[in-house]
């Protein structure tokens, strides 16, 4: 066993020295390999981080949201249903929610306007007050007096005193958020009393959701029920699909890389051929040459893979994946500026290895074999 390890160590030593003699060729290959790993790893790390973020956010969403439908379109729902819904056994709380979007013609941004739920005492706002998200400052001058001016869809002018700013950390959900009181909300959008955007049900036992939905559908006809798990599933599907499509598009890059690797490995220089010829003449076997060449591939692969992965990690988690953001995240004037939670997952690393190391190895097997079976007398002549 120890002899075997020592033998492999000598082979690695020899291979490294041999690689150093052909620096340019190996550095070029290493560079391209690194780039491929970097791009693929960035896509995968970003995709999974954003899925994780969505899952964490949804953990606080209500189990069921009830929306009224009129001719298949979402409409305001009456608060009268709240009583019937909270009477269903298993429903802990049913409350009406008021939220919507306000388009600001001045800067082209869309604000999410919302009334904080009654149960949320930390964000309670009085009439004429507002709590704003971290992104609002970027597109709107709030000024020294902490006033926020908004123009209602009707053209009326509204003035709010900014009571508080939401912390930066909540950027993903709250960048474009403006929290105002119920009275102000109804005045801003000219809403009558007793109607809500939708109704949120919080349910004690998640396993009962299906049964409760059945009962609620009878209590509130003409409505659509959106469950938290279905939202989570949709997010998971969408982001995975986007990631997969991007990876499939990058398939062309992987293929060109495999061709490059094949080409580099087949184009043995006369010097390399002579080297192999001499090695065989002094007693190396075909399998030894194969092993040495295998180590060459493994060292390049491992190096490029690790460095590419680390660079992608830094790109995604320290530089917010600046190069990929528009494709995977989408785009808006008031887009949240958020930091993803660093996270790495073995399944992803294995998948990445399948996309990079496997094509490289597959592409180099034939050239390596051709080199290894070289007869000493033909090359040394």
């Amino acid at each position: 066993m120890i002899r075997q390890v020592a033998r492999q160590r000598y082979l690695i030593d020899f291979t490294l020295a041999s690689m150093m003699r052909r620096k340019v060729k190996n550095v070029v290959l290493f560079g391209v390999y690194f780039l491929i790993v970097f791009v693929l790893a960035s896509v995968m790390l970003f995709g999974s981080a954003i899925r994780r973020e969505a899952a964490l956010l949804l953990a606080n969403a209500p189990e069921v949201t009830v929306q009224k439908l009129v001719m298949g379109r979402h409409d305001m729902i009456s608060g009268e249903h709240l009583e019937a819904l909270s009477a269903i056994r298993g429903v802990r709380r049913a409350e009406g929610r008021l939220w919507g979007y306000l388009f600001d013609r001045g800067n082209g941004a869309n604000y999410t306007m919302m009334v904080p739920p009654a149960s949320d005492t930390t964000h309670a706002v009085g009439p004429g007050e507002a709590i704003v998200g971290s992104g609002i400052d970027r597109v709107k001058t709030i000024g020294r007096n902490e006033y926020l001016f908004l123009i209602a869809p009707s053209g009326r002018f509204f003035k709010f005193t900014v009571k508080e700013r939401l912390p930066e950390g909540s950027g993903l959900v709250a960048a474009d958020l403006v929290l105002i009181s119920e009275a102000d909300y109804r005045a801003l959008f000219d809403l009558p009393d007793g109607v809500y955007t939708d109704l949120a049900l919080s349910i004690r036992n998640e396993k009962e959701v299906a049964t409760i939905l059945g009962k609620a559908a009878k209590a509130v006809p003409n409505s659509r029920f959106v469950t938290r798990s279905s939202i989570a599933r949709t997010y998971e599907s969408i982001f995975t699909w986007r990631e997969g499509v991007l990876l499939a598009l990058l398939g062309a890059a992987i293929l060109s890389f495999a061709i490059l690797a094949f080409d580099k490995a087949s184009g043995l220089s006369a010097e390399e051929r002579r080297e192999i010829g001499i090695l065989k003449a002094v007693g190396w076997e075909t399998s030894d040459v194969l092993t040495s060449k295998f180590w060459e591939g493994a060292l390049i692969s491992l190096g490029a893979f690790l460095i590419g992965l680390i660079a992608a990690y830094a790109h995604v988690f320290f530089f917010q994946a600046g190069l990929l953001e528009p494709v995977l995240k989408g785009w808006a004037v008031l887009y949240p500026d958020f930091r993803l939670t660093p996270h790495i997952d073995p399944l992803q690393v294995t998948t990445l290895a399948f996309f990079t190391i496997v094509p490289y190895t597959a592409a180099t097997i034939i050239p390596i074999w051709r080199a290894a079976i070289t007869d000493p007398d033909t090359v040394m002549r």
């Binding site: 599933r233 699909w241 496997v358 190895t361 597959a362 097997i365 290894a372």
Partner: protein
């Protein structure tokens, strides 16, 4: 759902294996007919040179298939959030009729690949490559399996539909559900424990016999396969309820989840290693030891026996630890 990244990775590996195996089988058919190591004919020399290429390519794709099995299972586990009704890999595999056949075929291919790699290694130990013809014969036998895995796996992934309502493990692994899963779940726990630990005793005795006699080695290989089945049955019937601390939860996949400390991997990996080494030992004992391997093969066989014993032993030890640490009382 074919654009799911791990699915793309598995399909890439499977396509590569398929192409390599089909090409290698063509070569193997030629080799089995024409191989004559004593001949100095140019055709024989070319064949010998080409075996290096084929062996290297096969070592690569078969090792890839082994990793692909783990990726397949773990991916099924992770994808369960995408399907209504699925809570672990069982739900994902149940989405269409190809899921479980794909898994079973992949397990069979894993063992086939492991046996081939072991025979290939033994073949390299002799100066005249005495097992070459046998090795390539084995490869020809293995190639339909590779084709089947590639086809069924593709059918499975291609037909994954997010709108299908699937069944989770709590519906499948219950005694009154019907089918093999139900039979395994309703297996008497005492009998299953007897199989698990009594089987280890039988294995240990057979290992002693395998060190001395060829018949012992063949018996060891057969019993390895039986013990694999017994081990899986015991996990379903008795070990997993102990791990979940729930009398009625028999799922063999939920134990792979992080909330149970990935204990499933600690159980399955040694069991797979033990069985593979046992089967490899059997394949090497099908024929009498060739003259050129008289010296090199016995130490290798001993290593295989020890590896297999260690694998089964570790499996038993992990199962025992899980049972002892559990708060569930099944007996008494």
């Amino acid at each position: 759902m074919i654009f799911h990244p791990p699915i793309l990775a598995i399909l890439l590996a499977s396509t590569l294996s398929l192409v390599t195996l089909v090409w290698a089988s063509g070569f193997a058919a030629r080799l089995v007919r024409k191989w004559d190591v004593a001949s100095g004919h140019a055709g024989q020399i070319a064949l010998e040179k080409r075996t290096y290429l084929v062996s290297t390519a096969l070592v690569f794709v078969l090792a890839l298939e082994a990793v692909s099995l783990i990726l397949f299972t773990e991916n099924a586990e992770r994808m369960s959030v995408l399907f209504v009704g699925a809570m672990c890999a069982i739900g994902t595999l149940n989405v269409n009729a190809y899921g479980f056949p794909a898994l079973i075929l992949k397990v069979a291919l894993f063992f086939g690949a492991a046996v081939w790699l072991i025979v290939n290694h033994a073949d390299g130990l002799g100066r005249d490559y005495p097992l070459t013809r046998f090795k390539y014969g084995l490869l020809i036998a293995l190639s339909p399996l590779v084709v089947a895995v590639a086809a069924v796996q593709f059918a499975y992934f291609y037909n994954l539909r997010a709108d299908v309502i699937t069944s989770c493990c709590s519906r499948v692994f219950v005694p009154n559900a019907g089918g093999l899963e139900a039979d395994l779940s309703s297996l008497d726990p005492a009998f299953a424990l007897g199989l698990l630990f009594g089987g280890l005793g039988v294995i240990a005795v057979l290992a002693l016999a395998a060190l001395r006699w060829r018949a012992g080695r063949l018996a060891y290989a057969a019993v390895s396969l039986v013990y694999f089945a017994a081990g899986i049955s015991a996990v379903i019937s008795v070990v997993s309820p102990y791990i979940y601390e729930q009398f009625h939860h028999h799922c063999p996949f939920c134990i792979l989840k992080p909330e149970y400390g990935y204990i499933g991997y600690w159980l399955y990996l040694p069991l797979f290693v033990g069985t593979s080494a046992g089967l490899g030992l059997g394949a090497l004992s099908l024929k009498r030891t060739p003259a050129s391997l008289q010296e090199a093969l016995p130490p290798f066989r001993r290593r295989l026996i020890l590896t297999s014993l260690a694998g089964f032993g570790l499996f038993g030890a992990v199962a025992l630890t899980a049972i002892l640490r559990s708060n569930l009382i099944m007996f008494g």
